[in-house]
């Protein structure tokens, strides 16, 4: 076990950091917003953490709080602008946002180190990262069938129907987008600490693609999806690499295609029967009277 742990500790750490990013994307997706903007909010969190670390020697708690706050703030501001767009235009706009982020990082040299990037003192350990993932999961599990959670799901499935039930789709989407910014901001702080160096390419298309792919692969209909997706997406190439070299990216791509073809709703699908049986148990109630069937 010790050997395994030494070998895979960093894999687990990065899987968890990616799980945070994927959870961020999932929160937007919860209300039907397909967003890659997590990379942008990650950059906000990551570079703020680097700045706090370098100039003030701030600890991880301060970094996380500032990263979460800035991610939330930037996402809330952008939501006013972006959420006027229809679904796929919205997705394209978030891609554009990721492209712009890189330019901003390059030009704001004073704060980000420009093209050289900036170093970060590592202040997180695995326990902290797992605790953060667990915290987000707890919140999402609690909110799943809350007033807001049901409204978000309704807006995703049919915004017009949701509106006819008294839900304001714009507000619900804006809240989801802002919350996704918060989680992605935290994820950015974590990633910066794990990498100990961040530059203009850290929070770019690759990261944006990874978080969305992990979410789609794991399943977009349950919060556990993005975590499973991130573990598979980060873990599988590492495992493959230890046996065969040079085919890991090929494997990941093939896996993604296979899952999309055969499991279009992802690995974790709350509609699947075994999942439902367990999910419906806690609601202890009299069994519904069976209609008598006479044949």
């Amino acid at each position: 076990m010790g050997g395994f742990w030494d070998q895979y500790r960093s894999v687990v750490e990065f899987a968890m950091a990616n799980a945070l990013f994927a959870l961020g994307s999932w929160i937007a997706m919860w209300a039907g917003v397909f967003s890659m903007a997590g990379a942008t909010f990650g950059a906000v969190g990551g570079f703020s953490a680097a700045y706090l670390d370098l100039h003030m020697g701030a600890g991880i708690v301060v970094q996380l709080l500032v990263g979460a706050g800035l991610g939330l703030g930037v996402a809330a501001l952008l939501s006013v602008l972006l959420l006027k767009l229809e679904s796929h235009w919205m997705a394209m706009a978030t891609v554009a946002l990721v492209l712009i982020t890189r330019v901003v990082v390059l030009s704001a040299e004073e704060y980000t180190g420009g093209s050289v990037g900036t170093g970060v003192t590592r202040r997180v350990d695995l326990v902290t990262v797992i605790a953060l993932v667990a915290l987000v999961c707890y919140a999402l599990a609690r909110l799943r069938r809350s007033r807001y959670g049901m409204a978000a799901h309704a807006v995703r499935e049919d915004a017009a129907v949701a509106a006819a039930l008294g839900v304001n789709p714009f507000t619900v989407r804006a809240v989801a987008f802002a919350a996704s910014g918060l989680v992605a901001g935290v994820a950015g702080v974590v990633l910066a600490n794990l990498l100990q160096y961040i530059g203009p390419d850290t929070f770019f298309i690759t990261l944006a693609f990874t978080m969305v792919a992990a979410m789609v692969l794991g399943g977009t209909y349950h919060w556990a999806g993005p975590i499973v997706g991130a573990i598979v997406f980060v873990g599988l190439p590492e495992v493959v690499r230890s046996y065969v070299d040079g085919v890991d990216e090929l494997m990941t791509g093939a896996l993604l295609v296979l899952i999309m073809v055969f499991m279009p709703r992802g690995l974790i699908d709350p509609r699947r029967q075994w999942f439902r049986r367990r999910a419906s148990q806690p609601v202890a109630q009299e069994p519904a009277p069976q209609p008598e069937v006479v044949r």
Binding site: A139, R145, S146, A151, H153, A154, A160, A164, L165, V283
Partner: protein, 272 residues
Amino acid sequence: MTDALLTIAGLKKRFGGVTAVDDVDMVVPRGAVMGLMGPNGAGKTSLVNLVTGFYRPDEGSVLLDGREVAGLSPHQISRRGITRTYQNVRLLSGFNVLEQVVAGMYASRKASSLSSLVMWPAERRERRACLERADELLTRVGVTERHELAENLPYGTQRRVEIARALATDPQLVLLDEPTAGMNREESVAVGELICSMRDQGCTVLVVEHNMRLILDYCDQAYVMSFGQVLSHGTPQECVDDPAVQKAYFGKENDASGIPALRELRSDPRRP
């Protein structure tokens, strides 16, 4: 029956060159079951979409209880007390039967997200109360299923779940868009009885239907629309007996000159 819940005046909606709803006046008295009939393309569903805010009217006013609702967004109109069902059932995929109905209680639920995060007792009580109320509403509309995914249920049951969801919003006025479409006679009668029980519980109902039997048997009054205009209004029997209505439905050649839209139609070679 003079107390009007819904008053529509001069309502107009154009789509390009087509006037889907053309200067419609309509009064739905409080506590009535009002029928709305008309051939395909008469503008019935467009009218429902205008009243519920899905479409923005070009002209005219819609008063609910004396207050203007035309121009408001769907969610604002829903909170004022108008709700609807859909011609093609639109349940929310992924929710079980109980959750479909609880989803309709959004506006009346008070507990914040924060309180659900910390499992505040009031929030848990509210959740339980919602489930209990959903259970009651489902019993009332005659649905026995509870934890099944709604999308796996038979069509007729899905319609009932949709009606329960509409009732969960505590509406003053429910617009039912073809509630018996695709149902057999027996199921239609059951929906008719359900509509009457809704009225008895204090709801005002506007039923859009093709099924004349349902309108005749269960509606207090009816409007007939054709080509976006109100063709006839009165008791259901009066409407059915109205020669103008028979023209619109069966197209008696000699009398068709009475309807301007039909005159135009006759000169259009593409239509039979």
